[in-house]
Amino acid sequence: MSVPSLVHMAIAMITAPLIFGIINRTKSLFGGREGPPLLQQYFDIAKLLQKGTVYSRTTSWVFRAGPVIGLACVLIALALLPLGPLPALCSFPGDFIVMIGLLAVMRFFTMLAAIDAGSSFEGMGASREATFSALAEPALFLCFAAISQKAASLSLSDMFLRHSGDATHGSAPAPALLAVALFVVFLAENARIPVDDPNTHLELTMIHEVMALDYGGPDLAFIFYASALKLWILGALVVNVVLSGIESAWAVLAGLFFLAIIVGAVESTMARLKLLRVPQLLIGAGALAMLTLIVAMG
């Protein structure tokens, strides 16, 4: 454990909710509105943490465990990720598999908790999440496989950590292809347009939001915060691939904020996909990732 790696954790944990603020401000600008303050997500989390909670009598411990396990998983996953020259809190061969696994455990408990609420809406949301993540996860695996092939290592730190004077190290194969594949996975996993609509209030069309419908108070704050961190982690992967060869942590941070603007622009300029079309998009991302892997092996 080193000081720089703790600094990285601290930066991520403090700035993650800001990304939502940037996305929302970008969307507001496109819509001709002023929009919510950049720090709105912090205000929301702070407000929710001060509130009490109400639980339905239908629910069991699974429902209460969902948000806690989700946040724990995403925090551990964060500890495995390096940021620019700042090393990860811990690293070992095969840690990227652990990271994908942690995100899967998070999703698994979110879905279980949603089903535990006993509402038909949440059941539908869980079923959609299961279907789409079954396609997004292999795509993410293939992306990592391609990067690790090039880096000749199974550790995230070896894949992404910047060393001064070593320009080739950590660069991804066919970065454009890989970035597109990762970006699609990033949008899908974080429930953004065109896969999901984070702003909708229509239960019948939701995927991710619907699974959090029965939560309030600190539980909801945990869910918001965990989604912000998840957005940070997957966003950092995209940025790392695009900015391979750049050695500054600030550049990666700036890249993340720029990514947020791109997400906002995407959400402002296209409609959400029909639910039936989402698998095709995710399979497309998987195919791109597979192509990168073939390039990396060649």
């Binding site: 819509g31 296209m270 639910l275």
Partner: protein
């Protein structure tokens, strides 16, 4: 008896048939292209108003029914909702009707599909958005909707009952709040009834002011709908701009009468507010500005492939189903049916200045959205034209006591479709019955049909493309 829109006739002139002939007459007329505009029971007397769109004729027939009669619905699906209402309100039983659940006083039994992997989703009556209450029961197989049943009545206020014995001072206010978004439409239909039964002559200027108000209401609501449709598929720019422009149109109505929804603007005998010369200029300027912004927002919508992919082939209603259900308004015109009260039963200013009928052939959510855009353009052009040539004269005329023992049907093309009011007066010239048929009454079942074999996640989009009224239906 064949009568025109807003024509007063004696109750004795309504053609009376024995019940079997009454039934076969309706079935035959509907097979020949007529539509049931109203069908209700007054004191054991069944009264049906058949609209013959091509001739512009409203045929009214009646029949004495005892406790029960053979249901018309199996031979004529249009009668479905009407007969449920008749049974609920009067207890006269249409025997052989497939579904006699009440339409307003709470439905407890629902059709149910059984089988493995079939699940039921219940939505409402309390919804997540700021909308009216209604209950939707879906029978689904995975994401696929096999059947949707719509249960309404949560907004039932007893308006029709409150109007019996009228008209009184309250009546016009009840009309303006039948469906808040159709204030002008319902108030105009009511005013036409009073003017026909009184009788009162409407000045040309009052007609034009009313016509402008009706089209402004259409502009505001159609614009709001386009924005809401864009929002439902997550397309922000059009959603945001249409929301603002809708406000601009509402403010134009407010400029005339002080109320964004047009309360107080339409009064029996004329209009409550005049449009003076300075207002004409102001309204023209505002119309041009709002329309320019709206055209930009609409262009964005039609030119986004991702939006069109969501709108096209969603919630398609076939022409055959639409004709069978006798639906009205933009939903009917989106199936290619040329049906518009402003054209078929032209009254008031529309008798002098025709607005072309806007249709689209495909019957899907796209067609329903596109018909709205066509109508927006034509309504804007109409308002511009009328503002330029505002007739001179007064805006109000005297209304007298209503003719006793009379009957009158009044149709108005509200922004949602055909609004039908029918009034029967007693021997002292008071309302013995006042029947209101909001366009939603015809169209709710069409929404259920359009959802068959659709994705349940497309329901909000489909629902919005019809945008039916709950309170207008529940009364």
């Amino acid at each position: 008896m064949r009568l025109r829109n807003a024509q007063c006739i004696s109750r004795a002139d309504i053609t009376a048939f024995p019940i079997d002939d009454f039934r076969s007459h309706i079935v035959k007329a509907v097979n020949q292209g007529a539509r049931i505009a109203a069908f209700f029971c007054h004191d054991g007397l069944l009264i049906a108003v058949l609209a013959r769109d091509e001739e512009g004729i409203l045929e009214t027939i009646s029949s004495r029914a005892n406790a029960a009669y053979a249901s018309i619905t199996p031979d004529c699906p249009q009668a479905h909702w009407f007969e449920r209402e008749i049974y609920e309100q009067s207890g006269v039983k249409p025997e052989g009707h497939p579904n006699l659940n009440p339409i307003r006083s709470g439905q407890s039994e629902f059709f149910r599909v059984d089988g493995e992997e079939v699940h039921e989703v219940a939505v409402g009556p309390v919804h997540a958005g700021i909308i009216e209450p209604g209950h939707f029961r879906f029978q689904c197989h995975g994401e696929n909707v096999l059947h949707l049943e719509i249960a309404l009545g949560y907004q039932h206020r007893g308006v029709e009952a409150a109007l019996v014995g009228g008209p009184d001072k309250r009546a016009i206010h009840l009309m303006e709040t039948l469906a808040g978004d159709t204030t002008i439409g319902h108030a105009t239909a009511y005013a036409q009834i009073i003017e026909a039964l009184s009788p009162a002559r409407l000045s040309a200027r009052a007609m034009v002011v009313r016509g402008i108000a009706l089209e402004l209401e259409r502009l505001a609501n159609h614009t709001g709908d386009l924005g809401a449709l864009a929002n439902d598929v997550g397309y922000l720019p059009t959603g945001a701009y249409c929301g603002r422009v809708r406000g601009d149109f509402l403010n134009m109505t407010a400029l005339i009468c002080g109320s964004r929804f047009g309360r107080g603007l339409v009064r029996p005998g004329g209009a409550g507010f005049d449009i003076d010369a300075s207002l004409v200029d102001e309204l023209s300027d505002r119309l041009d500005l709002a329309f320019r912004d709206l055209a930009g927002a609409a262009d964005l919508l039609w030119n986004s492939a991702s939006v069109m992919a969501r709108f096209e082939n969603v919630g398609t209603l076939s022409l055959e189903t639409a004709l069978k259900l006798g639906i009205v308004g933009p939903a009917a015109r989106a199936c290619g049916i040329e049906r518009d009260v402003r054209h078929d039963f032209a009254n008031g200013v529309f008798g002098f200045s025709q607005i072309p009928i806007s249709t689209a052939p495909s019957g899907d959510a796209f067609a329903r959205a596109f018909v709205r855009w066509l109508e927006i353009q034509r309504s804007a052009a109409f308002i511009r034209e009328q503002l330029e040539h505002l007739p001179i004269g007064s805006i109000g005329s005297q209304v007298h006591a209503l003719a006793p023992d009379s009957f009158c049907v009044s149709l108005v093309e509200g922004w949602r479709g055909e609004i039908c009011h029918a009034a029967l007066t007693d021997s002292s010239g008071r309302f013995a019955q006042y029947k209101i048929i909001d366009p939603s009454f015809h169209n709710w079942f069409a929404l259920a049909m359009a959802m068959r074999n659709q994705q349940i996640s497309d329901f909000p989009l489909c629902n919005k493309s019809f945008n039916l009224s709950y309170c207008g239906h529940d009364l």
